[in-house]
C-alpha cells in the first residue's frame, strides 16, 4: 500500500489545536476545520461547534479530490487554494503538506485578504507538525507499535458484533 495510516497522539492534537485557535483569532474566523484528504475530521476550533463536521469533512475531501482530478486534466498538479463565497459566510480551503485540508469559515468580520495572509503562516506550521506525525508513525510502524489494534483478539472483534 502506498499510504500510511494517520496516527495522532495527544501532544500532536494539542499542538494542532493551538495553531488552529490562534488562526481563529488572527483571521477573525468563525470556525476552522482540519480534514484528512480521505475525509476524516482531524481537529476543529472556533465558534461553529455543533455543526455536522463529519459531513463537512467528507464533502470537503470529495471537493478537493474532484478539483484535484480537474487540475490534472488541464495539466496542473493540484489547486491548492479554494475560495467559496456565500451570502453571509465564506469558505477558504487550503491543502497543507499535500495531505491535510485546512478549512476556514469566515463572515463580514474578516476578509479574504486577511484569511489568506494568516492561513499562509498557519499552514506552514501545520505542515511541520504533520511532517513530524508522519515520521513518528513511520518509526512506530517499524517498531511494530503503531496501533492499539495490534494486540486485539478475534474475540474483541466478535464482541463488537455480538449484539
Amino acid at each position: 500500500m502506498i499510504d500510511t495510516p494517520l496516527v495522532m497522539y495527544d501532544d500532536d492534537h494539542r499542538k494542532i489545536l493551538a495553531v488552529l485557535q490562534r488562526l481563529v483569532r488572527d483571521a477573525n474566523a468563525k470556525g476552522i476545520f482540519l480534514v484528512d484528504k480521505n475525509g476524516q475530521l482531524v481537529a476543529e476550533a472556533g465558534e461553529m461547534r455543533g455543526i455536522d463536521s463529519t459531513s463537512l469533512a467528507s464533502l470537503t475531501a470529495g471537493n478537493i479530490a474532484a478539483t484535484g482530478g480537474l487540475a490534472k486534466i488541464i495539466g496542473e498538479e493540484e489547486f491548492p487554494i479554494h475560495f467559496h463565497q456565500g451570502q453571509r459566510d465564506n469558505l477558504h480551503i487550503t491543502l497543507v503538506a499535500g495531505r491535510i485540508i485546512l478549512v476556514v469559515v469566515f463572515d463580514e468580520r474578516s476578509s479574504l485578504g486577511l484569511v489568506r495572509l494568516r492561513v499562509k503562516k498557519a499552514g506552514a506550521e501545520l505542515g511541520h507538525i504533520f511532517e513530524e506525525i508522519r515520521k513518528k508513525t513511520e518509526r512506530a510502524q517499524a517498531a511494530g507499535t503503531a496501533s492499539p489494534f495490534a494486540e486485539i483478539t478475534d474475540d474483541d472483534i466478535d464482541n463488537l458484533f455480538s449484539e
Binding site: 500510511t4 494517520l6 492534537h13 476524516q40 464533502l59 479530490a65 489494534f149
Partner: protein, 198 residues
C-alpha cells in the same frame, strides 16, 4: 487508510461499496441508515442526480462500538456505478480500508458485473492497492428476482478469490448487515494483522 486518534480515542476506517449501475449500493446504505439507532449514525449524504442516480458518492458515518477503549467508526461510501463516471470512482477509492462488491444477480447484468470487477481491480491498482490484499466481501444482490442467475454460477464468475460472500435483497434488508459485519471484521482483522500499518 485508517485514522487512529489517541486524543479522542477513536479509530476511523473507510469502506467502499462498489458495483455496476443500479446494483443496489445506495440501497444497502439506505437500509443501514434506516435500521441504525440515531446515536450510532451521522447524516447520510447522497450526491445524486435529479433521477436519484449516484453522481459522485453516498456517505454514511457509522459507529460500531468500542474495542479496547477505542471507538470504532466506519465511513461507508458508494461509488457511482455508471460506466462513464470512472474518474469519480477512482477518487472515492483513495484511502480505502475495505471493499464490498455488490453484484446484480439478474442474469442479463452478468456482463456488467464482470466489467465492474475488472474496473475495480484496475482502479485499485492505479491507487497502489491490490484487491487480493485488502479486506473484500462480495454480495449477490436481488436474489428475490425471478431472473436471478444461479448462485453457483455467480460464485464461479465473481468470487474467484473465495472471499466471504452473501446473498441479499438490499431493498428488504436481507443480507445487508451480514455483508457490512463481514467487511468491518475484515478491516479490523487487517489492522490487527498489520499492527496498524500498511
Amino acid at each position: 487508510m485508517s485514522f487512529i486518534n489517541y486524543s479522542s480515542r477513536e479509530i476511523n476506517c473507510k469502506i467502499v461499496y462498489y458495483g455496476p449501475g443500479l446494483c443496489g449500493k445506495t440501497t444497502n446504505l439506505q437500509f443501514i441508515y434506516s435500521k441504525t439507532s440515531p446515536e450510532l449514525k451521522g447524516k447520510m449524504i447522497s450526491l445524486a442526480t435529479e433521477t436519484e442516480r449516484t453522481l459522485f458518492f453516498d456517505f454514511l458515518p457509522l459507529a460500531l462500538g468500542q474495542i479496547r477503549g477505542f471507538k470504532t467508526r466506519f465511513h461507508l461510501y458508494t461509488v457511482p456505478g455508471q460506466v462513464f463516471y470512472d474518474a469519480s470512482r477512482k477518487l472515492i477509492l483513495k484511502g480505502v480500508d475495505g471493499v464490498v462488491f455488490v453484484a446484480d444477480s439478474q442474469i442479463e447484468r452478468m456482463e456488467a458485473n464482470l466489467e465492474s470487477v475488472d474496473n475495480l481491480k484496475i482502479n485499485l491498482k492505479e491507487q497502489g492497492y491490490e484487491l487480493e490484499k485488502i479486506p473484500y466481501v462480495v454480495q449477490y444482490n436481488k436474489r428475490d428476482l425471478p431472473n436471478a442467475a444461479p448462485l453457483d454460477e455467480m460464485r464461479r464468475l465473481l468470487n474467484t478469490m473465495g472471499v466471504p460472500d452473501f446473498e441479499a435483497c438490499a431493498n428488504l434488508g436481507k443480507g445487508v448487515f451480514d455483508t457490512l459485519k463481514a467487511t468491518a471484521k475484515g478491516v479490523l482483522t487487517d489492522l490487527k494483522r498489520l499492527g496498524g500499518g500498511r
